[in-house]
Every structure is written in structure tokens, then in C-alpha cells.
């Protein structure tokens, strides 16, 4: 996956077509579908791949998964209209090299019909098709917990990226308002994904596994049932540290994601990034600035990529991975 070129024209044309025909952007869901679209079904998937190619020699895999359960209110629909802008924004601003974006959705494996939907890493209009095919659950268990850990399990064990081979991490953005379960259940993994694992895996262990290859973020938007909820924020901060961002204005979701990537890739700093946004005529400058100020400090503390051609002694790793 991940070949092809983003064509704004074709995207705009598709958008216009939808508007003209009165079709909802969530056409699949709104046509009454209550099962996962075949293109988004995680069951039996070996890997979702993000590959380098002549066209995209330094791919940056980016997975954006959002909670589609009832507690999110109208948020999933807004995300659906905003997220198609993400690729274009990243390309225009050059915040990362060769972005390849996977969209997906998270529900609740204990009670939902569609607990996990997961597209492919794409760099063209197909990512927009994936978005359109996402089923909106609207359910959820009402216990402040969704199956984010199942999504993390999939991303940790069923994605393969060329970026990894170059020591470059991809990005995972989870957008939601609830807690993950304490562990991923072997039974749910079997039912939803089809893997047979011998025992449940603690969510902490999954986060550790996933962060080997991805920078993992949690975005808690305003306008959701648990926006600003202390318990939710604390749990995610325990899991992801400073990579938990509160988002006041949903309209700014793409800008927040893009700038987070830019800060982390050291392709921009917060002031320059916010100035970029203002130049684009974005109304999100203030809310993005607020969401990202603590994070940009954390990035500065962590150190930035330094260009260096150090001699490397011969032989690879003397360690054996377990």
C-alpha cells in the first residue's frame, strides 16, 4: 500500500459529487450498514504495510483511529469531514517526509457489533474511501471504557513499516474520550482479529510494544462525554506521558496532528508552526497553541535529530530479540 499521489482535484471532485447527490460522507454507515466494511475488517489481516517506493522513498506511517461510540456525540462526524485535510496539510507544510495515512475506528469489543475498523496506509484518495466506509457505532457500554487496547494490539502486531528499518518511528493518534481496558483479552483478539494468543496482555505491555515503532498520542476532544475528565486523562498520562493532548476545538484536529508531527520531526517549532496556521487562515491557532505548548517543551527536553555521520563498527546487533 501507499503508492499513488494525493490529488486535491480528485478529492474535491468526489466531495462535490457527494454534495450534488446528497450522499452523506458516511455513506456506508448511513445506508444502514451495521457490520464492518470488508475493506476495514481486521479479521484475518496479516499486516497493513507502509512501504518506501521510488515515489515515496522515506515513508512516514501515520495511523489515526477515532472512537465511534455514543459518548463521542457528534465528534466522529466532524472528524470525518476534517481528517481528509490531514494529508494535504502535511504535504504542503513539509512537516514529515512521504506521509502514508491509515484511518480506523475504535468501539467496544464487549458489546459493540463493530469494535475495530482499520484501513490501509495510503497516500492517495483511498484513505478518504476508508473514512467514508467507517461504521458509526453510536453504542458503547456506558462504563467509560472502550477497546483502545485492541486497536493497539492490531497496530503493534499487524503493521509493518519500512520506516522501522531506518530507525524512524511512525505515528499513532487515538482520538477518544474514554479509558482503555486494563488488558486485551485473548478471546476478543481471537473473535475480532483471528489471532490465537495464550493469555490476556496487559495494556501497559501493549503500549511498550507499540511505542517501539510508533510515537503514540491520545487526543481528548471537547464536546465529548468525558472531555476534561480527570480519571481518563490520568490513566492515559500514566500510559503515554506527555503525549496526551486536550483539544478544545474539534475543527483544529488536523492542525493539531500535523503540528505534533512537525514538532516531533523537528521540521518546525511551535511558533513557526502556529504562524504557518495563521497564514493558512486557520481559526485554530489559539487552540492548537494551547494544546501543544506543554508538548513542545517535552520535545525540546527529549532532544532533536542531529545530523551526524559517525563511523559504525562492523557487525550488527549482538543481541537476540525475544
Amino acid at each position: 500500500m501507499g503508492s499513488g499521489r494525493w490529488s486535491t482535484d480528485v478529492y474535491t471532485a468526489a466531495e462535490n459529487f457527494r454534495a450534488a447527490t446528497g450522499r452523506s460522507a458516511f455513506a456506508y454507515s448511513d445506508s444502514g450498514a451495521r457490520t464492518v466494511h470488508p475493506s476495514l475488517d481486521p479479521r484475518g489481516v496479516t499486516v497493513r504495510e507502509s512501504r518506501d517506493s521510488a515515489e515515496h522513498p522515506a515513508s512516514t506511517p501515520i495511523a489515526v483511529l477515532f472512537d465511534v461510540t455514543g459518548s463521542m456525540g457528534g465528534v466522529p462526524r466532524v472528524l470525518q469531514t476534517k481528517l481528509p485535510q490531514l494529508l494535504g496539510l502535511l504535504l504542503r507544510k513539509g512537516y514529515c517526509t512521504d506521509p502514508q495515512i491509515l484511518f480506523g475506528a475504535v468501539g467496544d469489543a464487549t458489546c459493540d457489533r463493530v469494535p475495530l475498523q482499520i484501513g490501509q496506509f495510503e497516500s492517495d484518495n483511498r484513505m478518504d474511501d476508508d473514512l467514508a466506509n467507517i461504521v458509526l457505532e453510536g453504542g458503547g457500554g456506558g462504563q467509560k471504557t472502550e477497546s483502545y487496547e485492541l486497536a493497539m494490539y492490531f497496530l503493534a502486531r499487524h503493521t509493518d513499516t519500512d520506516a522501522k528499518r531506518h530507525g524512524r518511528k511512525g505515528y499513532v493518534f487515538l482520538i477518544g474520550d474514554e479509558l482503555p481496558y486494563r488488558s486485551v483479552k485473548a478471546r476478543e483478539v481471537r473473535d475480532v482479529i483471528g489471532d490465537r494468543i495464550s493469555e490476556d496482555i496487559r495494556t501497559e505491555t501493549l503500549v511498550a510494544e507499540l511505542t517501539r515503532n510508533y510515537h503514540v498520542y491520545y487526543l481528548l476532544p471537547a464536546g465529548t462525554a468525558y472531555a476534561g475528565d480527570r480519571t481518563v486523562l490520568k490513566r492515559w498520562r500514566d500510559l503515554l506521558g506527555e503525549n496526551v493532548l486536550e483539544l478544545d476545538d474539534l475543527d483544529a484536529v488536523c492542525e493539531t496532528i500535523a503540528l505534533t508531527i512537525g514538532l516531533n520531526e523537528d521540521t518546525t517549532d511551535l511558533d513557526a508552526g502556529l504562524a504557518d496556521l495563521a497564514d493558512l487562515g486557520s481559526s485554530a491557532v489559539r487552540t492548537v497553541g494551547k494544546a501543544l505548548t506543554p508538548y513542545s517543551r517535552a520535545v525540546r527536553r527529549r532532544g532533536r535529530p542531529v545530523r551526524a555521520a559517525l563511523p559504525r563498527s562492523r557487525g550488527g546487533s549482538g543481541s537476540v530479540r525475544l
Binding site: 522515506a58 522501522k164 528499518r165 531506518h166 530507525g167 524512524r168 496487559r202 501497559e204 505491555t205 511498550a208 511505542t211 517501539r212 515503532n213 527529549r302 532532544g303 532533536r304 535529530p305 542531529v306 545530523r307 551526524a308 555521520a309 559517525l310 563511523p311 559504525r312 563498527s313 557487525g315 550488527g316 546487533s317 549482538g318 543481541s319 537476540v320 530479540r321 525475544l322
Partner: protein, 306 residues
């Protein structure tokens, strides 16, 4: 001396260079600007200055060739704050292990005894390949137990091994209390200060924070690991105690006292649950045993012949 002579002298004496000095000296010794008849010396000074500049990585200047570790190359570096060790993953696939080390040492920041200090973390970008690097305290005057082993091929006197064992247990106890299992208590990873009987545990790349399996093992020492490590079962303090006891047996070799051998064997049972779980309690047991074998503790001079 003229400015030019001054600059040449400075350049050949310097091991590192600051931004400001580089810019200033570059103007003075540029071959086009050199005093008549000094073009030769200007060219070599200019070359040397360029070398100094290119051996810099961020704020650090690399001094000399790397030391090869199991998964990383170690460079001695100098910055405005002094010398340190720059540890760079050889294979980008091991970046996560360097990140683990940084995370562990950041946790240990408040109590740096027994652990090297972490000064900085970097990501080296070499033409798109990114390798994680940690800037660590250079433990001057310390030697590794691998070197001790080489210096004492017939085994260490158990009374010398005793203080190393004791301090190793204290250090592991501190790590365990902080919720960290080292996961690779091996000869190269335990450094001692022979004269002062100091001990530092290095290479926290294989560590586990909280609960979970050890991510990788050092291939050369495959046989030294307890069964839960290759079985990918969660590591516990008992994992470190198994490795530490094995390391001590290895150091004493044939000179081990039978009672100490039995003691170590009791820490090396196959099932983690059947081993001791608490390094500090084990230390009390070891102290009892040492007292019975050798009487009250006395400081013994120790040195490692080069």
C-alpha cells in the same frame, strides 16, 4: 606572537572547538588570507580546524575511535560541561533499547549512586537512518567485571568477590525498589572501582520497567540467563538475582568456597518463584554467611593489574 601564529598554535593544541572559536579561527587561518610564505602551515591548520569541526555532534566533540559494545558503539565525547560517553545504537532496530535505558536512568536521576548519570539523549540522523543515542556519565577509574575476570583467570579470592557481591545486591535492590529489573547482569555491565570498592551497574538497555518480559538477550551470554528470559515470561527481581549469583560464581571460579557455591545455587533455581525475591533481604543472608565464614568485615585492598 601574531594573530596567525596564535591561531595555528590554538588549533593544533585543541581537542574540541566552540562555534565562536571556529568562526574566528577559520577567518585567520584561511589559506587565502595567510601571511605570505605561510600558505603551507595555513592549509594544514585549516584542515585540522575542519576536522575538529566535523567531529562535532550537536554540542559534543567526538574524541577517538569507538568502543564496540553488544548493540551500541561508545564514543568518548567532550562538551562544554566535560567529558562523557556517547552511546549510539549500531542498528536502528535497537533504538527502542536505548530509549529504555534513557527511561530507566531518568527515573534513577534522584539517586545516582550505583547507576551512571544520563546527561542527554540524541537522535543521530545519518542520511535518513535514525539511530538513538544516550549521553552518559563516563565512570572514570572504574573497570568492568569482564576485565577483572581477565586479570584473575584462576578465579577471584571469595573475600574480594564478597564486597562486589554485597554492593551488587544493594544496587539491584535500589533498582527493584524503583520498579526496574536490569535484565542483563553480566560481566561487562557491572563496573567496579577497585581502590574505593565502588560499584556501578551500566547498560540498562535490556531493562524492564514495571512488569513484562525482557526484550532481548546478549547472544554471547545466552547460557547465563535463567529459563524465564528465553521463554519470554515476565522478568522479576529473581531474574536479576539469578544472573548476579551466576556472575559471582563465574568470577570466583575454582576458588569459590563450597558454602558460597551453595548460597549461589539457592539463587539459581529454575523456577523464579523458588528463588529469593528481594535483593536487600538476600544481602542480609549473605552477610550472615560471610560473617560465619570470614568473621567481622575488614577492608581488603584490591587492584586490577592492567
Amino acid at each position: 606572537m601574531t594573530d596567525f601564529e596564535d591561531a595555528v598554535h590554538l588549533i593544533f593544541a585543541a581537542e574540541t572547538i566552540t562555534d565562536a572559536d571556529y568562526r574566528r579561527l577559520r577567518r585567520i587561518v584561511h589559506p587565502d588570507a595567510a601571511p605570505l610564505g605561510s600558505e603551507g602551515i595555513a592549509t594544514s591548520a585549516f584542515t585540522r580546524l575542519t576536522e575538529l569541526w566535523e567531529s562535532r555532534i550537536g554540542p559534543y566533540t567526538v574524541l577517538g575511535d569507538p568502543i564496540t559494545g553488544d548493540l551500541a558503539d561508545l564514543f568518548r565525547v567532550r562538551s562544554a560541561k566535560g567529558t562523557a560517553l556517547l552511546k549510539v545504537a549500531r542498528d536502528p532496530a535497537d533504538n527502542d533499547l536505548l530509549e529504555t535505558e534513557a527511561a530507566v536512568l531518568r527515573r534513577r536521576k534522584q539517586k545516582p549512586a550505583f547507576f551512571p548519570r544520563l546527561f542527554d539523549t540524541l537522535v543521530m540522523d545519518d542520511d535518513g537512518d535514525r539511530r538513538a543515542a544516550n549521553v552518559l556519565e563516563h565512570c572514570a577509574g572504574f573497570v568492568s567485571l569482564a576485565e577483572v575476570e581477565r586479570a584473575y583467570p584462576d578465579g577471584l579470592d571469595p573475600r574480594d568477590a564478597a564486597w562486589m557481591w554485597r554492593r551488587l545486591l544493594v544496587a539491584l535492590g535500589a533498582a527493584h525498589r524503583a520498579g526496574v529489573v536490569h535484565g542483563a547482569v553480566l560481566p561487562e555491565h557491572v563496573l567496579i572501582h577497585p581502590a574505593e570498592h565502588g560499584l556501578v551497574i551500566v547498560d540498562w538497555c535490556y531493562a524492564v520497567i514495571g512488569r513484562g518480559p525482557i526484550p532481548a538477550l546478549v547472544a554471547r551470554y545466552r547460557d547465563a540467563y535463567p529459563p524465564e528470559v528465553p521463554a519470554k515470561e515476565p522478568a522479576t527481581p529473581a531474574t536479576d538475582l539469578y544472573l548476579a549469583s551466576g556472575l559471582m560464581l563465574r568470577l570466583m571460579g575454582p576458588r569459590v568456597h563450597p558454602a558460597l557455591r551453595r548460597f549461589a545455587d539457592g539463587c539459581r533455581l529454575a523456577r523464579p518463584r523458588m528463588r529469593p525475591q528481594d535483593a536487600w533481604r538476600l544481602l542480609a543472608e549473605l552477610d550472615d554467611l560471610l560473617h560465619r565464614l570470614y568473621g567481622p568485615r575488614r577492608f581488603r585492598e584490591f587492584s586490577v593489574p592492567a
